[in-house]
Symmetry: C2
């Protein structure tokens, strides 16, 4: 007997047959005596179909109208799921974003949730109904329909769980949960029973696409227990929760990999205060995310500044830099593509020394050169050549004994 929010992504509701599967899963949870609210995305492919239509009538669709358009995707899914649930004899009621009380700012196509007034959802739950809520969307105080941006359905689910004080928010995806490494690369990668919000955040931002970073932040802020699991198997999945003492006993929880990194080096920048600020200001204004910033030692009054961006942003970064480099009198900019960022993540790093040394040694033993290094309290990232990406993942997975054949890293025992 719990109050649960269950979120199903586009793949899980990608066809009428799959919607019926989801309905059976939800009805079963309801039949066990739980109170269930469901958040769904648009059927897979639907958002792209709608965006394509908009590009057939205009080169640059207006953002407000684009939100009006794509918000229909989730509305179709909530209606179909409620219809399927009622067909199973399970009382259900669908709610668009505005009906479910999601108020956002007016930043169309990437609005931020301002408040959730879940009165109608709670009334439906109190009436014994499954509340089926459209993910990814909300409404401004002026009653304009907005969307939260790609992946926003996870955020809807977590925010709804916070608003109705749910016991858990189950995020159903096409993977079983969070693994110690990508099982496609590391065959004995192990499903983690629990990770902390902080670990999940690092993993999300490092390329493990299980859960969107904004959702994890929101869950951490409101202390919503999130369970990541598969809609296609019965695996219990991975719980994402507050850090606890058991987590600290594990040095490293997982190895994550982000390919498609570009390294940008600004050469011969004047070594005086404010130059770096100007450079990164220009990049930020272009909306490009920067990672692994390294400034080399100054020589003859100039310095090299190196950082990474996603490969797709490489050219735009150089364009954004051009006027700044001219203004500050830097020598030039070079970019290296085909790089990968490999990272180890673990709450236990906070209280353990020697983790970085162990990581660098493991890579060095295999003659893998490290091009840049970045760290946070619970993460160490190394930039390496892309061709070593999979090898490095397996090496580090084994070095920190994360595999199912190991016990050292297993906090679930």
């Amino acid at each position: 007997m719990a109050l649960i929010v269950k979120k199903f992504g586009g793949t899980s509701v990608g066809s009428p047959e799959r919607i019926k599967n989801v309905a059976r899963l939800v009805a079963a949870a309801q039949a066990k005596g739980n109170r269930v609210a469901v958040v769904v995305s648009a059927m897979s492919g639907e958002t792209d179909r709608l965006l394509k239509l908009s590009l057939e009538v205009a080169a640059k669709p207006d953002a407000r109208e684009q939100d009006m358009l794509v918000a229909t995707g989730e509305q179709v899914t909530i209606a179909l799921l409620a219809i399927a649930l009622r067909d199973l004899g399970c009382p259900a009621r669908s709610f668009t974003g505005w009906q479910a009380g999601f108020t956002t700012d007016t930043d169309f196509t990437r609005a931020r949730i301002r408040s959730v007034d879940a009165e109608r959802v709670i009334a439906a739950l109190d009436a014994g109904e499954v509340a089926v809520v459209a993910g990814f969307q909300g409404v401004t105080p002026e009653d304009e329909i907005t969307t939260l941006g790609r992946g926003g359905s996870d955020l809807t689910a977590v925010a709804l769980a916070a608003a109705i004080a749910a016991d858990c928010c189950d995020i159903y995806t096409d993977v079983d949960g969070v693994y110690t490494a990508d099982p496609n690369i590391v065959p004995d990668a192990r499903l983690l029973a629990r990770v902390s919000y902080e670990e999940m955040l690092e993993m999300a931002s490092l390329g493990a696409k299980v859960l969107q970073a904004r959702s994890v932040e929101y869950a951490a802020n409101y202390n919503v227990p999130v369970r990541v699991c598969s809609s296609f198997t019965d695996n219990p999945g991975t719980m994402v929760t507050k850090e606890d003492s058991s987590m600290e006993q594990v040095l490293v929880s997982g190895v994550t990999l982000s390919k498609n990194e570009s390294k940008i080096t600004v050469q011969g920048a004047p070594d005086r205060p404010g130059v770096a600020a100007q450079i990164f200001q220009a990049i930020a204004e272009a909306g490009i995310l920067v990672d692994l910033i390294v400034q080399n030692v100054s020589r003859e009054g100039t310095t090299d500044i190196t950082f990474t961006v996603l490969k797709g942003d490489s050219e735009r970064t150089r364009e954004a830099l051009a006027p700044v480099l001219a203004a500050v009198g830097a020598k030039g900019v070079v970019a290296a593509d085909n790089l990968a960022k490999i990272s180890i993540v673990g709450t236990g790093m906070r209280s353990h020394a020697g983790v970085a040394a162990k990581m660098f040694k493991a890579l060095a033993d295999e003659k893998i050169n490290i091009l840049s290094i970045g760290t946070s309290e619970i993460k160490i990232s190394c930039l390496i050549e892309s061709k070593y990406a999979e090898l490095a993942t397996r090496i580090l997975h084994e070095a920190f004994a994360l595999g199912s054949g190991s016990v050292a890293g297993d906090r679930d025992l």
Copy 2:
């Protein structure tokens, strides 16, 4: 410089290319200094696609959820049209039914408009924007999304025109307007420049599918001038307005034809008060529309009651009658299919005698047998065998001199 509501049906917005055509047409009207609100239907085929999806998840979709589902069809069109208009440099803003202030009752899938609070639409028009409003939908006082039933977009347009006191409501269809007869049957059928609300109502209910009867009633109640015209040609179309003295000078405005009629005869019903009421009560409860009721002379205390229904309702009518016939002790029921109803409509009939005689004689001259007759103040309908339908249409069109080669029936001279 006028305030105009323009309504485009599913065919007119059936593809991105056609939506761009509509955008050009609307932008041109706006550029002439008019203030324009647009009402659109779902892209042709979209409503059926959505209903098909719902039938793939449940045999009998819940009505509330079905409205939630199909309301997305118009929402897609308003967004695309607003995007296309903005792409042409024409300021535009789309509104769903609830945003445009359409409040309805809670009769899902066939809701009735209770009120239109067009505040936001008027604000957009005042700001120099084209207001693009979703047809066919509204919201209950409890914020539940409803639809007005098939063809409801015409009603949305007329109701919006009434709410904002528009000078005219232009209904764009795939025909040029209202003709004296179906031009596919009568080659010299003539486009009528004007018809009265009453004539249009009779024509709508008699099978001329230009304009839905509910919309004509609404327009008559609020005295909204409606123009029926084509989105594919530049024809001025047909104005539907209040009756005026010029209209009375014309005996007959048009000939309409409804094929697919069934004649049902209840045989040997006891000739006592209340029997007919019981019979038609049972049919009404089954939601079947009845027309052309004829009761024959009583013989030996019993009578035959004959009426017509749409052929598709024939079997359901007999099913609905079965228990009543047993209860009242009628002998039985027979049905004749393959019948057509041919009608002449004209405001002038009110003040002219001999119209019916002329009609019957014209049919008799060609040996076409009349099986039943029904009349209203401005209409005479005859049930005939289906095989004579087209011939009878041409005969009556000529008998009342309605063709483009004639002058007698032309009120536009």
